[in-house]
Structures are given as C-alpha cells and as structure tokens.
C-alpha cells in the first residue's frame, strides 16, 4: 500500500515547522536572516510547484505573479501609505486577478506554446514595470521605510524589521502555505489535478471540466506566489524590477526541480539547498549564474525527479 496514515504525514510536516521554529533561537544572525528569506521564497516555489508539479504545466512566467504581489504590496505602502495587512491582501489580490486573466488566455494553449506564452506575458509585465518607472522605481527599485513596516494591533506593535519578528512572520506564511498545499495534494481536487497531468483527455472523459480545474490551479498558484512576493516586499523592504525579470521565472523552476516536483516539502529543500550552494560559491566566485546553469543541466540530465522525488521513489513511497 502506498497509502500512509494521515497522522504520520501531518506529524512529518508539523515536525518540519517545529524544527524551523526552533532554528530561530539557535541560528547565528546572518543565517537567521537567510532562513527568513529562504522561507519567504520557498512559498514562491510551493506556488510554482502546485502548477508545475501537480498539474504538470511548465510556466516560464511566474515572476509576474511574484512581482504582482511584490508591487501590489510595496506600492500601496509606498504611495498610498497603506498598513501592512491591507498591503499584503492587496498584493495577493493583484496576483490572483492577474493569474485569472493570464490563465484564461494561456490555457487556450498547452505544452511548449504554454511555456512561451507565459514567458511573453511575464516579459510584458517586466517591461511595464520599467515603462512606469516613475511609480515603480524601475530597475533602481524603491526602498520601503522601516516606519511603514510596522503592524499595530490594538496597543501592541510588531516591527517587521526586527529579525525575530521577520523570521516568525516568514515562518507563519510558510507554514500556512505548506499545510494548505498538503491539504490540496491530498484532496479530491488534488487527485483531479494529478489526473490531468497524467492524461488530460481521459480526465475529461470521467466528467471533469479540466479547463476549469486548470484555471483554478493557475489562480491558486498565482495567489500563493503573490503572497510570497508581498511578504518579501514587506519583510525586506525593497521592490525592484529584477524580481519581475525572466530570471525570477526560472528560479522557482530550478528550486522545484532540485527539491522534487509534486512533493510538498521539495520546494523548501530545493530553495534551501540552492541558496546555500550559491551563498558558499559566492565567497570564491562571482559567477552565480554559472552555478544556476550547471545545476539546471545536471538536474534534467541525472535527477529529473529531484532530491525528495528520488527519495520517495527509492525508499519512502508514502511521502506526499
């Protein structure tokens, strides 16, 4: 039986969250900051994984959803003076609406055409960010002041620039999204998504509106990536056009491939691994992109299932 008891699966995920919680108190300052960043970006990877891993749709344009969240949150704080929670919601909403529009258009295509169409829409988004540099700050970007990044609830205030608050905020978002993707993967909806990946025509003939299911997946994926972008803007106080560039569409693909597509914990592992590899490598070479490039090629050649995917295949068939 490949069916594992739900208790075991949830225990594993809660264990991972607990471990990350504990790490906050042991990690040195530098690594605490790095981990906060990794958790925020792992959310991006998890959103990407929902579409790429489970539905099997390879998008080359997810930077636009990430940066829709980034700018949706960042610009409402910067220009309109919104509070942190409202800005976060605005960011997620921007990503969801954009994903709905892009989904309606791009889902008319599939396979290679889908990859190119998503890449082109993302390119349009990137160029729009540059074109409206007066508001977005263009490639210089905008820095969101510390004063704007404080949440006040009643009398208490949470300063997102404080390392521990920042770490815990990133962990909270990460945990919510991790449990949500786990629930989706184990749900009936998740089963339909996997069926579409395996054989869309057959799924249709079981009475499923596959286009509607794919659209739902695009919107959820877009919203999750936007949540990551919004959190990034609010936690690290910077928005810039580089986050909308094609490189940020490739990175989540790389992280997910590395960690293991269609695994719930793969995106975290991939992001963590890649971040530390480049972090260590950057101490003796500036050729960061070279490592990304070599990693991509080695992965597709020798480990297309990624770290967790290979572990699941060999030893732990029950891993979700």
């Amino acid at each position: 039986m490949r069916d594992a008891s739900p208790a075991k699966i949830y225990a594993l995920h809660i264990g991972v969250i607990a471990l990350l919680f504990a790490l906050n108190f042991v990690l040195p300052d530098y690594h605490q900051g790095l981990f906060a960043r990794i958790m925020a970006l792992a959310v991006f990877a998890m959103g990407y994984n929902l579409l790429f891993g489970y539905v099997g749709m390879l998008s080359l344009g997810h930077a636009m959803f990430f940066s829709a969240g980034l700018y949706g949150a960042g610009l409402t704080v910067y220009h309109l003076g919104w509070g942190v929670p409202e800005a976060f919601v605005a960011g997620v909403a921007c990503g969801a609406v954009l994903a709905l529009v892009i989904g309606l258009l791009a889902l008319r295509t599939s396979g290679v055409a889908f990859m190119i169409v998503t890449m082109m829409f993302a390119q349009v988004f990137y160029l729009l960010v540059l074109y409206f540099a007066a508001w977005t700050g263009g490639d210089q970007g905008l820095v969101i002041q510390q004063a704007s990044r404080v949440i006040t609830i009643g009398g208490a205030s949470l300063d997102l620039t404080n390392p521990t608050v920042r770490y815990m905020s990133a962990l909270t978002l990460f945990s919510v999204v991790l449990i949500a993707t786990l629930a989706i993967a184990r749900s009936r909806f998740g089963r339909v998504l996997v069926a579409i990946r395996e054989n869309e025509e057959r799924t249709k003939m079981l009475g499923y509106d596959t286009v509607a299911n794919k659209l739902a997946a695009v919107v959820i994926s877009g919203a999750i990536c936007a949540a990551s972008g919004a959190a990034y803007a609010l936690l690290f106080g910077y928005v810039g056009s580089s986050f909308a560039s094609v490189q940020y569409s490739i990175l989540p693909l790389l992280w997910v491939l590395l960690g293991g597509a269609a695994t719930t914990l793969g995106p975290l592992i991939g992001t963590l691994f890649m971040y530390y590899v480049t972090d260590i490598a950057s101490s003796f070479t500036s050729a960061y992109l070279l490592i990304v490039g070599i990693a991509l090629i080695l992965l597709v050649l020798f480990a297309p299932k990624g770290i967790l995917g290979s572990i699941r295949q060999r030893w732990l068939g029950w891993l979700p």
């Binding site: 009936r188 089963r191 339909v192 069926a195 079981l206 009475g207 509106d209």
Partner: protein, 241 residues
C-alpha cells in the same frame, strides 16, 4: 422512447466521410453491438456520441435533450460514459485513485472520505480487482487494466456505457468473466459496444448494428444479422472467408 437517437449524423475528415448521415436509435436497457470492417466508422461514430469529436452535421439526442454541441465532460455528467479502445488507465496512479476519480465526481453527499472508499471498493469488487487496490495501474496485467477501465466506467454510474473493443487482448478465460460482467452492468445501464470478437457479440447483444463505409448497412437481432447476405458479403465474408 429511445434513450439515444442520432439524425443524419455525419463527420468528414477532409474528403473522407468517416460517418455519413447515420440515423440511429438505442432503447433503454438493451445491449447493442456495433460491428463492421476496419475503417467502417465505428470508433468515429461512438466518439461523436461521447463528444470527443464534433460532428460535421446532424444531431444527437440523449434522453430527450439535444446534446449535439455539448462538451464531452458534460455528457459524462448526464450519464454517457466511454471506455477507451486503447487502455488508458492512469498508469502512475494506484487502482484506488483511478477508480476514486470517477467515484468522487458522482458523489453528492459532499465531503466524507469514507463515501469515496466505499464507492471505490464496490466498483473494484464488482470487477474482481479488490485485492489490487494499492497497486499502480501501470503494473497490473493487461487484462486487469482492461477490467480497471471497466470499473472506472461503472463508477461513473452511467445510463449509457460505451465500450470500445473491450475484449481486445483478453485471454479466453478472461472473456467469459467479461461477458458475465457486461450482463450484470446491463441490469442498470444501457450498453453500446464495438466488438470484433463475433462469439462475444452473438452471446451478448440483444441487437446488432452493422457499419460499412460510414453508413448503417443492416440492423437486427443476432439471428437476423447472421442470416443477412449483404452483411456476409461486406463483413463476415471478409473476415472469415
């Protein structure tokens, strides 16, 4: 009143008239076989019924409703189920998940996980696959994959089950079981099957429709078809002669 009728149903591929002005009626509860030589348009015809391809002209009525332009997945929801000629179970999913997909869609009671399991096990037991529930479909034997395909069709609770060459590749012993299975299915559903194996057709079918060059050549009981000289010329003669 017929469960399903077609009027002047046609499908052209370029200059080829794969299905050409077919008028067809199927009564509720019957087991109907469609036979005919290769390239007679049988698979195209049932593909038109299931909505996998669109007709060039003509009309399809199911249970009094015009479904000519309805998308395939909605027809499935109305109760028109189709099992593929080439086995197309989800090879990387377990037998359980394969059957759970149709089961969970027909469930109306909302969220309970137990209901899916009950439905899946019922369909697997009916097809004799209950002990394979956790096996990946791709690792099942060919015969079992065909049975799984039927289990998926059953789980849709269809009113019309279209089987495209269901016995292809089955061993003789499996065929006997299969005939018993179709008889049982026919207790609650109408069955339309394309079949090349004449003994199976003669044993199962209440009526037989013979296709040739995209048109209906003859229709009748197995005895009438067996006696029909035109059919013998066009089809039986060709395969057995």
């Amino acid at each position: 009143m017929p469960l399903l009728t077609t009027k002047g149903l046609s499908r052209h591929f370029g200059g080829l008239r794969a299905v050409d002005g077919v008028d067809f009626a199927l009564m509720p509860g019957e087991i109907r076989a469609i036979i005919g030589p290769n390239g007679a348009g049988k698979t195209t015809f049932v593909s038109l019924l299931s909505g996998r391809i669109r007709p060039s002209s003509g009309m399809i009525v199911f249970d009094g409703a015009d479904i000519t332009t309805m998308p395939a997945y909605q027809r499935v929801r109305l109760g028109v189920a189709y099992t593929f000629q080439i086995t197309s179970v989800f090879a990387n999913l377990t037998a359980f998940d394969n059957v759970a997909l149709p089961v969970q869609r027909t469930l109306t009671d909302g969220r309970s996980k137990g209901a899916v399991r009950t439905g899946v096990m019922a369909a697997l037991e009916r097809t004799g696959l209950a002990d394979r529930v956790g096996t990946l479909a791709g690792q099942l034997s060919y015969g079992h994959q065909r049975l799984l395909e039927v289990a998926m069709g059953l789980a849709l609770k269809p009113r019309l089950l279209i089987l495209d060459e269901p016995t292809q590749g089955l061993a003789d012993s499996e065929i006997d079981n299969f005939i018993a299975l179709v008889r049982e299915i026919a207790k609650d559903a109408t069955v339309l099957l394309i079949e090349h194996n004449m003994p199976v057709v003669m044993q199962l079918a209440d009526r037989i429709t013979v296709f040739n060059s995209g048109k209906i050549l003859a229709e009748g009981t197995p005895e009438q078809i067996r006696a029909n000289t035109q059919v013998q010329d066009a089809y039986l003669g060709a395969t057995h002669g």
